[in-house]
Amino acid sequence: MTYSYNNTIAIAMSGGVDSSTVAAMLKDEGYELVGLTLQLWNQRRLAGREGMPEHVQGRCCSIDDVYDARRVAEKLGIPYYVVNEEERFERDVVWPFVSEYLAGRTPIPCSLCNNHLKFDQLLVRARQIGADRIATGHYARNEYDPVRNRWILRRPADLTKDQTYFLFGLTQEQLSRTLFPLGGYRKPEVREIAAQHGLALAAKPDSQEICFIPGGDYKRFIDAYLDEQGENIPDTAGELVTSSGDVVGRHSGIHNFTIGQRKGLGVSSPNPLYVLQIDHASHRVTVGGGDEAVSKSVKARDLNWISIPQLEGEMRVRVKIRHRHEPAWATLRSSGPDEAEALFDESQRAVTPGQAAVFYDGDEVVGGGWIV
């Protein structure tokens, strides 16, 4: 298979140093560039509601970031547009995020956003305006392997910034049209390049939190969002129990818990207690000691394969079960239609439904799915 593209690249510009540097680098390489910022969420929407801050300091999606992105585009002399994707974002990211929490799972909005907006929708937008490819500021590497006839997603040079965990859902078609120019650089080098190009935001701090939840208080966000929608939080108050079934307390709603959570359980115990299980049907939250909070395996559904066309037989992989998790050795095998199971060599803590399980072979992303 051969790929040929036109010389126009659409850059997803967030107003941060990473995507701004991508724009500067590709400009130097002589591409025709179009800068796009996705307007995803109106931070003022929930301001002041249910205890949300009156004045929004949010980093991503904020007007300040749009100004920063626009200034970079002006400086580089590239056309720049803000694209309104608020409706899609609410439907494909915010609402699923809220629903997942209410169902006792712990979702990853960044992956939903990557799957539905940053790549899917951005590629459509890019092609509509005449760009065959997009480029983003993600730390990941993406190359075509003619031997396997597949696009391979690999971990970046700067493993501390590795974002491949959030990118496991990319299809071969999407990968074939996406550039990750920062994959070979370390973050300090990126800041250096930004400074060399005179970009004023070279020293701008990294964004950390979920972009539409300034301050990261997702419980308050869920309260405010449901209030705005005129819906009540379903009453999921229930019992806190130990794995042997002893009731040790009560809680006010399952959405307040995440598997592996240690703080805020409202139970006193000589040894630290962890959330082991959240049962949506009975509203029962099971807690236990650290020795109990481990799993021998993880099951994932809605799989996407990247380095392999499909899983056949068993495969030795390393599995990452949350963003800040050191991948753990496991044996991967199919466990049903569109479902796979990884048996860990050593039991892992806090296997959390709603998070992603991403499988690695060396630095290659084999594929991934959603933990069930």
Partner: protein, 386 residues
């Protein structure tokens, strides 16, 4: 790349005559129009001459013209300057945000506000104005021509209703000025707003017509400028430019310029309707200003079309820009009963006298090609959009 500008309802370029008139007032002829000395007297004379030109355009007295910083300020003085808490104000749902948001603010401050609906063609029904009158109604504000559709409102009928009811009448004529005849006596309005930059004068200039005997409370305090109706040192160069633009607009309404613009608009509109399937004119059944056409394209996202056309060199607009610059569906089209997807799929082309037949030809090539490209790539009624 050749760039074609068809977004006159957003802003217009200065024409050379206006620049020439302004130039001395930016360079050698400085002076504060309030100063006693010769520098001041020269500036004062220039301001007053411009006031005459504007008064002639509107068929009013010089003393009835207040220079402002633009349409938004004029609208705000009009809405805040005559009413008090407890009063009732009637306006329409298709006003510019300068009126709409000022009216919402009035409501927050304890006034009653009625936002009138419009017909499918975007016209306010004078009978609805009459029916909305209450004993405490003090002000009616209905625009003269709409910025999105170009649809002309029945201002004369509304003016009569206001006079009969002894209610003040303000009309936002920002999109009418220089495009159609404005006669404040024929309209019977007490207040009328105009923006300079929609008629080849500089941005940051505007006019509020205040009928003699209408005692309006100013927004700004700090001087007796503009007969105590608008404090602040006059923007002499801008006012001179606005005066010159008013003279040119007066001439253009009589020398066939508007007929030529209207012919270009019609050729553009009919040409696109002929070349593009599933396309219709918003406000087609109503009288419209000669320079504007608003087209809806089925199975398309207007935002993408605006960007695609811009990258091909054609500047048009769709919807209204929110704070970030992303496009929101037009509140005007929504008020006309368009569903959100149709409102999003609508584009406005607005021409000036500087556009050429050649540019219309180019647009008739670019638009159909861009529409079919977009429809091929992402039929919006398929897939995930729903």
């Amino acid at each position: 790349m050749r760039r074609i500008y068809m977004d006159a309802n957003a802003t217009t370029p200065l024409v050379p005559e206006v620049v020439d008139a302004m130039r001395p007032w930016l360079i050698e002829n400085f002076g504060n129009a309030s100063s006693i000395h010769q520098h001041g007297q020269r500036a004062r004379a220039a301001v007053e001459q411009a006031r005459e030109s504007v008064a002639k355009l509107l068929n009013c007295r010089d003393s009835e013209i207040v220079f402002t910083s633009g349409g938004t300020e004029s609208d705000n003085i009009a809405l805040f300057g005559l009413v008090k808490p407890g009063d009732h104000v009637i306006t329409s749902s298709i006003e510019h945000h300068a009126v709409l948001q000022a009216a919402e603010r009035l409501r927050d401050r304890g006034l009653e506000v009625t936002f009138l609906p419009v017909s499918r063609d975007g016209v306010v029904d004078p009978d609805n104005v009459r029916r909305a009158l209450r004993p405490n109604t003090q002000l009616i504000s209905v625009m003269m021509a709409n910025n999105e559709t170009g649809v002309i409102q029945p201002v004369v009928e509304i003016g009569q209703i206001a006079q009969e009811a002894d209610v003040w009448y303000h009309t936002d004529a920002v999109q009418a000025a220089s495009k159609i005849e404005i006669d404040v006596k024929a309209i019977g309005c007490d207040l009328l707003s105009i923006s300079g930059h929609k008629m080849h004068a500089p941005q940051g200039t505007g006019i509020l017509y205040v009928r003699r005997g209408t005692h309006i409370e100013p927004l700004f305090f700090g001087g007796a400028h503009e007969r105590q109706r608008r404090a602040g040192t006059e923007n002499v160069a801008g006012i001179v430019g606005l005066g010159r633009a008013a003279e040119l607009a007066h001439d253009a309404l009589r020398d066939g310029t508007m007929t030529r613009i209207s012919a270009m608009r019609d050729r553009l509109e009919l040409g696109i309707l002929k070349r593009v399937e599933d396309c219709a004119v918003n406000g087609a059944g109503a009288p419209r200003v000669p320079n504007t056409t608003n087209l809806q394209f089925e199975n398309l996202e207007g935002e993408a079309l605006v960007i695609a056309l811009d990258l091909k060199g054609l500047a048009v607009s769709g919807g209204s820009a929110c704070m970030s610059g992303a496009t929101e569906p037009s509140h005007v089209l929504l008020a006309m009963g368009l569903v959100t997807n149709r409102a999003r799929a609508s584009l406005r082309f607005s021409l000036t006298k500087l556009n050429t037949d050649d540019e219309i030809d180019a647009a008739l090539e670019l638009v159909p090609a861009a529409v079919s490209h977009l429809r091929e790539l992402a039929p919006v009624n398929a897939g995930t959009l729903g």
